[in-house]
Amino acid sequence: MRWETVIGLEVHVQLRTRTKMFCGCRTTFGDPPNTNVCPTCLGLPGALPMPNAEAIRLAARGAIALGCSVHPTSVFARKNYFYPDLPKGYQISQFDRPLATAGRVAFESPERGRVEVGITRLHLEEDAGKLVHDRFPGKTAIDLNRAGTPLAEIVSEPDLRSPAEARAYLTTLRQILVYAGVSDCSMEQGSLRVDANISIRRPGDPKLGTKAEVKNLNSFANVERALEAERERQVDRAERGERIAQVTLLYDAGTGQVRELRSKEESHDYRYFPDPDLPPLVLASEWIAEQRAGLPELPEARRARLEVAYGLPAYDARVLTSEIALAEYFESVVSAGVEAKTAANWVMGDVMTTFNESGGFPVEAGRLAGLVTLVRDGVVSHQAAKRVYAELAQHPGEEPKGAAERLGLVQVSDQGALTGWVEQVLAAHPAEVARFRGGETKLMGFFVGQVMKRSQGKADPKGVQRVLQEKFG
C-alpha cells in the first residue's frame, strides 16, 4: 500500500546585524559567556525593548526575496512560556499580524522536477540564550549572549513530498537568503535552524494526517535522514492499523533514530497577545519598494542568465551559482579574458576546492586568467597548471609565469628539443613503431608518454604529438 508523505518546514535564521533585536548588545559569536548582556536582554526588572532597524530591513528583504508580501503594518506579540534560556519568561515574536505572508520558493525536486513551495509567513522574533548541560554535574549552565539575537522565522506550506525534497528546498532557501545578504545561514554555527513537520496520508486524501514534529536537526543531511526515519516509523504504525499520535521528536545523529521527548507535555498554550511595550511596526510603501530594488540578482535569475549569456550547460550554471561569491568570481574571470567554459571548469574545480576550504579566493580572478593564458599558449600543461594554481594560492603575491618557472613546470616547446626526444623514443621502440605503422594508432599515446618520461614531464604534449604526426607522415 502506498502512502503520500507530507512535509512542512519551519526555519529560523539569524539576521546579519551587529546588535540584538531589542537592545544594543553585540551579536558576536563566541565571546565569553554573559558578556554581551544588558538590562533588556537579561530581562531585568524595569527594562524595555528597543527594536533594531537593520533587523527589520533584512527581514523585509528576505521576505521579498522569498516572494512574500511585506505588510505595511505588523505587530510584535509576546509568546509566553517558561524555560531557562528565556529571560523574560516570554519571547517577543509576531503572531497574527506578521511582517510578511504568502511567498513561494521554486526549487529542483529530485523526484518531481521544478516544484514551488508556498511560504506561509516570515516574521521577526528574538532568539533565546544557550544552555550547556554537561559542564557542571547536576546543573544546567545558561549563557545569555545569544538571547535577543534577531531571528526571522520562515514557515513553509506542507508542500514537500519527500525527505529528499526537504533537503533540496533547504538548500535553495539557504542560497536565496545568503544571496539576499540576510543571514549567513550556517547550521554549524547555529545561524540556521530547522524544525520539520511530517505526516502521511493516502494518495488523493485531501485531509492531512496527524503530524509529528522533529527537532534538534543540525545539518541538511540529517534533516533528510531524520525525516526518512520518522516516515518509516509512521508508515509502519499505519500499516499495522495503529494510531499516529501528535508527538515531538528529537533526532539522534549518533543512532540515526528519532525518539519522543521524555516529557509528555500537553501542547504549549503560548497565550499570545500584542506586546504593550512596542507600538505597531509601520513600514512606508516607498521604503518597501526600496528594499525590493536593493536586492541583488537572486539565484534563479542568475542561473538563467549564466546559461544564456555564457552558453553554459544547466549543471554548470547551478554549481557556479550555488554560492553568490563563486558566481561573482566566475564572471570576473570571464571579464579578464578567459573563455566561458574554460573558466567554468576552473571555477568548478580547483577554485571551488580552495573556496570550500578557506571560504575565500586566494588567487584573484586576473591572476587565474593569466594562468589560463599560459596553458592556452602551451607554456604549461593543464596538469602543471593545477600545481601552479596550488602554489599561487599559497603565495598570493606571485605571478603565474614566475611561479611556473620557480617550480620548473614551464614546458619545453622548442622544436629542436622535442624532435630530439621523439627520435630517441622512436629509435628505442622499433617494435611499437612497426605496430603503429601497421594500424595500431592507439600507440600514439604510448609514444607521447615515453617522450614525457624522457623529458621528465617537461615536454609540451601537444607539441610532441605534432612532431610525431609529422614523423609518421
Binding site: 538590562p39 537579561l42 530581562g43 531585568l44 526588572p45 524595569g46 527594562a47 524595555l48 525593548p49 528597543m50 527594536p51 509576546r78 509566553n80 517558561f82 531557562p84 529571560p87 523574560k88 519568561g89 516570554y90 544546567t140 545558561i142 545569555l144 498554550d269 497565550r271 499570545y272 497577545f273 506586546d275 504593550p276 511595550d277 512596542l278 507600538p279
Partner: protein, 461 residues
C-alpha cells in the same frame, strides 16, 4: 537651606517617621542622603536643587535595593538606574528613600506589602490607599515635599485623595517607564505626590520627555511647569454624571459641592456630561492589567536575580514553582492566575478581546466629551475617604471597587490629578481633574488656581 542641612533634617524626619510605625519606608540611610547632598552641592542651580524626593520601591536605583515590596526581590539591587531617577538627579534633586507599596503595585491600600502595611498618617487604624501608599504617607506626614509613585489604575491619585496631598498622573507616554518595574505596561505611569500643585508640577516636568530607552514615550520635549492661572474664566468643566452617584459618601459629596462652588466663583462654566461606558472600567481594567502583569512577572523565576527556592522535585520546575509560590504574596498570585486564565486558549476572545474593545469605547467616551467643547472634567477621586485596615482584604473584588473613579482614566491614557478639597470627620477628601490627552499643563494650571481658594484641611460639613 544648604543641601547637607536638608539632608540632615530629612534624615531626622525619616527617623521620626520610622519610630512612629508609619512603615512608609523600605530602604533609606543617612549615608546615602549625605552622599546625595554632596553630589548636589557640587553642581548647584538645577530646578529641583536640594529637594528631597522619595521613590516608590518599584522604581530601580543602583544604590539601594528595589524590592517592589515583595519577597521575590528581597535584597535585589538593580545594576542600572531608572531614567526618571537619573533625570531628577540631573535637576538637582536628592533621592531620600525607597517607599513601601502594595506588592508589585497590585492593590489599593498598601496592605499587600510583604513588609507590613503602611499606616494612614492621620489615623493609624486606616489605610493610606495604594498601591503607592508609602510615598503618599511620607508627603502627607511632611517628611519629604515630594515623592514618586506609579499608577496603573489610580495608584497615586487614590492614595493622594486618602492622605490629603496632591497626586498627579501624566499622559501615558510623557514620562519614561525605563526602570519602572512593569505591572500593566500599557497603563503604568510614573506619577508624583506633592504638597502643592506647583511642587508636583516641577518634579513631573524634570522627569518628562521622550526617552529612546522606552519606545512607548511620545516624541515630545519635556513638560514645562505652567504659569499659574489667576482664575478659571473661559474654562468649561464637565461633570460626568456616572461619577456622581446618588449614594456617594456624604462627606465626599459635600466636598465636591464646595469644589464646584469654588470653580464657579473662579469663573468656570460647569456642564453636565456623560461617559456611559464608565461602569465597565473596573472589570475591563481587571482583565487587561492582570493579563499584562502575568507576562511581566514571568521573569521572576529565581534564575538570574533575587532569592531562590527549590522545591522537593529538585529540578528546574521545582525551582520555578517554589521560588514563585513562596516569593509572591496572595494578591499577586491571584492576579497572575487571573491574567494567565484570561489569555489562555479558548478564553482570549471572551475576556481579553472583549476588554480591548471596551477599552477603546471608554477612551472614545472621553474623546467625544472633550471634542464637544469641554476643557477639563471634574469628579470625586474616590467614593469614600480612607477605609479601615482589614476592611476590604477578605474579598478582592470589594478592594477593586475603590478604583471606580480613577480607573477609566488609566485605560484611556489621559492625564489626571487629585487635589485635596476638604475633610470629612477628619479624613481628607480629594477631587479629580481630568484633561484631554497631552493637556497636562492645562490641568495643572487650573488645579493651581483651585488650590488657592479651596480650604483643603477644612471640614466640609
Amino acid at each position: 537651606m544648604s543641601a547637607p542641612a536638608v539632608a540632615a533634617a530629612t534624615g531626622a524626619r525619616l527617623v521620626a517617621a520610622e519610630a512612629s510605625s508609619l512603615n512608609a519606608t523600605l530602604h533609606w540611610s543617612q549615608a546615602l542622603l549625605d552622599a546625595e547632598a554632596r553630589r548636589v552641592e557640587a553642581s548647584p542651580g538645577g530646578p529641583l536643587h536640594a529637594v528631597p524626593v522619595a521613590i516608590k520601591d518599584n522604581i530601580v536605583t543602583t544604590d539601594a535595593p528595589t524590592t517592589c515590596a515583595s519577597r521575590i526581590l528581597e535584597g535585589y539591587v538593580s545594576p542600572y538606574d531608572a531614567t526618571a531617577v537619573t533625570r531628577l538627579r540631573s535637576a538637582g534633586a536628592m533621592i531620600a528613600a525607597k517607599t513601601n507599596m502594595d506588592e508589585f503595585a497590585m492593590g489599593s491600600s498598601t496592605e499587600h506589602s510583604a513588609f507590613g502595611r503602611v499606616q494612614h498618617p492621620l489615623d493609624p487604624s486606616r489605610v493610606p490607599g495604594g498601591s503607592s501608599g508609602g510615598s503618599a504617607a511620607l508627603v502627607a506626614a511632611g517628611v519629604v515635599p515630594a515623592a514618586l509613585g506609579s499608577e496603573t489604575g489610580g495608584s497615586v491619585r487614590q492614595p493622594a485623595s486618602f492622605c490629603g496631598v496632591v497626586g498627579v498622573k501624566p499622559s501615558y507616554g510623557r514620562v519614561s517607564r525605563f526602570g519602572l518595574v512593569a505591572f500593566g505596561s500599557s497603563l503604568d505611569c510614573i506619577s508624583v505626590f506633592g504638597r502643592t500643585v506647583d511642587d508636583a508640577s516641577k518634579v513631573l516636568a524634570a522627569m518628562s520627555g521622550h526617552d529612546p530607552l522606552d519606545r512607548t514615550t511620545l516624541e515630545r520635549p519635556a513638560m514645562v511647569p505652567p504659569a499659574p492661572r489667576r482664575d478659571l474664566s473661559g474654562l468649561r468643566i464637565g461633570l460626568p454624571r456616572e461619577y456622581f452617584p446618588a449614594d456617594l459618601h456624604p462627606g465626599v459629596a459635600a466636598a465636591m459641592e464646595r469644589t464646584k462652588t469654588a470653580a464657579r466663583e473662579l469663573g468656570a462654566e460647569l456642564v453636565d456630561v456623560s461617559l456611559p461606558n464608565s461602569p465597565y472600567a473596573v472589570p475591563t481594567y481587571y482583565i487587561v492589567a492582570p493579563a499584562e502583569a502575568a507576562a511581566n512577572l514571568a521573569r521572576f523565576d529565581g534564575v538570574r536575580y533575587g532569592p531562590r527556592k527549590v522545591g522537593p522535585g529538585g529540578d528546574i520546575r521545582a525551582l520555578y514553582q517554589a521560588t514563585r509560590g513562596h516569593g509572591f504574596g496572595p494578591e499577586v498570585q491571584r492576579r497572575i492566575l487571573v491574567g494567565t486564565y484570561v489569555l489562555s486558549a479558548g478564553y482570549y476572545d471572551a475576556y481579553y478581546g472583549k476588554a480591548q474593545r471596551m477599552r477603546a469605547r471608554i477612551a472614545e467616551d472621553f474623546r467625544r466629551v472633550f471634542a464637544g467643547g469641554v476643557d477639563l472634567l471634574l469628579t470625586p477621586t474616590t467614593p469614600t475617604p480612607a477605609f479601615r485596615a482589614g476592611e476590604k482584604t477578605e474579598d478582592p473584588v470589594s478592594m477593586y471597587l475603590a478604583d471606580i473613579f480613577v480607573c477609566a482614566i488609566s485605560l484611556a491614557g489621559l492625564p489626571a490629578l487629585s487635589l485635596p478639597v476638604g475633610r470629612t470627620e477628619g479624613l481628607p477628601v480629594g477631587a479629580q481633574l481630568i484633561a484631554p490627552l497631552l493637556e497636562d499643563e492645562r490641568m495643572l494650571a487650573a488645579a493651581a488656581a483651585l488650590e488657592r481658594v479651596v480650604a483643603a484641611e477644612a471640614e466640609v460639613r
